[in-house]
Amino acid sequence: MTVALFVPCYIDQLYPDVAIATLEVLERLGVDVAYPDGQTCCGQPMANTGCETDTAPVARRLVDLFADFDAVVCPSGSCVSMVRNHYAAYFDAEDAKFQHVTSKTYELCEYLHDVVGVTHLDVKFPHRVSLHQSCHGLRELRLGQSSESMTPRENKVRKLLNLVDGIEWVEPDRPDDCCGFGGTFAVNEADVSAEMGRARIADHCDKGSEVLASADMSCLMHLQGLIRREKNPIQVMHVAQILSGRPLGAA
């Protein structure tokens, strides 16, 4: 069984270590991982702007690229949700390649939790950590229970991080309020977006967290930009980096 590593465009270009960490975690667990050449983007920026005709060829490319693999794994809930929940608009429902890729694409934590069934990780991270739950991971992929929903769900991201030695959890007041990234929203509604982000950072900082961890690097790119500007005493890290044993400050 070969798993294709799907690296989102912004991770490839701006946060390569997140993809390296993802690859290392999977390889260490004995997963046969391939990195198909020619990857770019899932099409989400265009889709979320409403530009459907610009999205379709990009979505088609992704499906063609990954169609021959048993599964596709990606360290970003948002991109996975695009493929799983929103690709139907761009394909014929009977399209076999589309059917295969849309149903076999997993977010990293989801794959480790549901498919690999990881129960042990030999890594340490002796720090105060708070979790930023990305909206798409939470409410579109249901990686955990959103605070609005009364349907009990286990939190897959947290369960995985609990396998790491030394993490001291710090709980923000609002467990899943949006950080304000939202793709092009961050630029379209720059003032509101920044204010949303500042509120999240303050909530995590006030509780004494050293590391704001998330399974979505796009939220973290926005939060990191604000943290650096305002010189807040907190760092961001992708969950894959913690799971692969990176020290504090890797992002």
Binding site: G50, R139, E148, G225
Partner: protein, 459 residues
């Protein structure tokens, strides 16, 4: 033609005043937290939502049948049913009833429908004295504003500001801001208005086809007083307020107040089954105003499920920071951003983009309207109608092109990262690069993952 609403610009002043936007955010989050506690107290919460959604889907699918059944049963109880195709028609019907009774003084309880129809202005222009009797609506009315929230109309106003308004209009002590004192003053003021009112106008929360009855939910009892003292009651309702059977009502009253304010039930749930005696009149105005058109749309039809609880506003991180007036619409927040463009796409085209697609609204909605997916669907509609600015459409066209050619994507990425490393800060962090107004750009790595992978894994 309505003016074009630019949400980011309309929100700017509010969001950039931390004293206001953070206080507003906290106030609404408090309501949302109360809702969470109430929802969690019912093991059947998600079952109730599912049931309510099913009842609404069924009702909207069979709307003409249930409307006619309602009309028959309401008429049999002695009510007079009026049909209004749009806001203007609705306002004319109400004015005609007022003229028939030679009345100039109206006491009104909360009704978002009459806000939608602009009834207050219309009546005032026709020489009628309209008094909003809901405390929040009265505050807003005295200030010459509109509600900024459908359940909490004055949520954007601080108690000190209410004190100033009351000092000016009701003669309360200057500088007084004690909520108890102010509420007592409003109570005295409104009591006189109630006694002088000749006709009571209310909204409607639910209308029941099977019985021809109406249900109005309030916390202040103002709908009851406003319909008990005057002899004539005019109830204005959108046609989507219908429920088929009396037994369906319990599903919705259990969801409504819990979702709206985090109360198990509103203080008053008043049932009106025909006029109260032979000397009284009950007029029911059924209003379409674009609802039939919305019903035709497969994509947006579910928005007709809305019971106007306001939970999507309380939970919306954009609404909480930008305030209700930034939407420039009767119904703000997520549901408003879905409904407003159905009235005028061009005017409200920025609203579906005033959303980070976090999905909290869809999860909080008691009738399971897929709000964030509808907002996303609106974006597709707007682009299809070429209502998105050319600059944005063009940038997406370029991005799409870039992502179709991996070699080009890599080249542009490499040049971009190189530029970020060597260019002086002022060239990358300036007002033209909107990202950098409040944030730093990421520190560009020397190599992309693709390059790293070539060096380390492709042997």
């Amino acid at each position: 033609m309505l003016p074009i609403v630019q949400h980011p610009a309309a929100a700017k002043e509010f969001v950039n005043d931390p004293n206001r936007s953070r206080w507003h955010d906290q106030a609404l989050w408090f309501v949302r937290s109360k809702r969470d506690k109430q929802a969690a107290s019912l093991p059947e919460w998600e079952y109730l939502r599912e049931t309510a959604s099913g009842i609404k889907t069924h009702t909207i699918a069979n709307l003409s049948h249930y409307l006619q059944e309602f009309e028959r049963n309401a008429t049999a109880r002695g009510a007079v049913v009026h049909w209004a195709r749009d806001a203007e028609h609705h306002n004319e019907i109400v004015l005609r009833i007022l003229h028939d009774h030679k009345t100039k003084r109206i006491v009104k309880s909360k009704s978002m429908l009459t806000e939608e129809c602009g009834l207050n202005h219309f009546l005032e222009d026709n020489g009628i004295d309209v008094v909003d009797t809901d405390l929040g609506e009265r505050i807003v009315q005295l200030r010459g504003e509109t509600p900024s929230h459908i359940v909490l109309p004055a949520i954007h106003i601080k108690k000190e500001e209410v004190g100033d308004t009351f000092h000016e209009h009701l003669g309360t002590d200057e500088g007084a801001s004690d909520p108890k004192y102010l509420a007592e003053a409003a109570r005295g003021h409104l009591r006189d208005k109630f006694l002088a009112g000749e006709i009571g106008i209310t909204g409607v929360n639910f209308a029941i086809a099977e019985t021809g009855g109406l249900v109005v939910c309030t916390n202040e009892g103002n709908a009851d007083l406003g319909t008990s003292l005057p002899r004539v009651h005019i109830a204005c309702m959108g046609i989507e307020k219908l429920l088929p059977r009396q037994r369906d009502l319990g599903v919705f009253t259990r969801l409504l107040a819990r979702s709206a304010t985090g109360q198990p039930i509103t203080s008053y749930t008043s049932h009106f089954n025909g006029p109260r005696d032979e000397n009284s009149e009950l007029h029911i105005v059924l209003v379409d105003n674009g609802r039939s058109r919305l019903r035709e749309s497969e994509t947006f039809r579910a928005a007709m499920h809305c019971i106007r609880c306001g939970a999507c506003m309380n939970t919306c991180p954009v609404y909480r920071r930008s305030g209700g007036h930034s939407y420039r619409a009767t119904v703000p927040g997520p549901i408003g951003s879905v409904l407003s463009p159905t009235r005028d796409q061009n005017s409200y085209k920025s609203l579906p983009y005033a959303c980070s697609l976090c999905g909290s609204c869809s999860d909080v909605c008691p009738v399971k309207i897929p709000l964030h997916h509808q907002l996303l669907a609106w974006r597709g509609e707007l682009v299809g109608k070429k209502l998105l600015p050319v600059s944005k459409r063009l940038s997406m066209r370029c991005a799409s092109y870039l992502f179709r050619f991996p070699a080009l994507f890599r080249l542009v990425g490499q040049v971009g990262r190189f530029a970020l490393r060597v260019l002086p800060r002022w060239a990358t962090h300036n007002r033209l690069n909107v990202w950098t107004i409040a944030r730093e750009l990421p520190e560009p790595p020397k190599e992309s993952f693709h390059q790293w992978h070539r060096r380390h894994r492709n042997h």
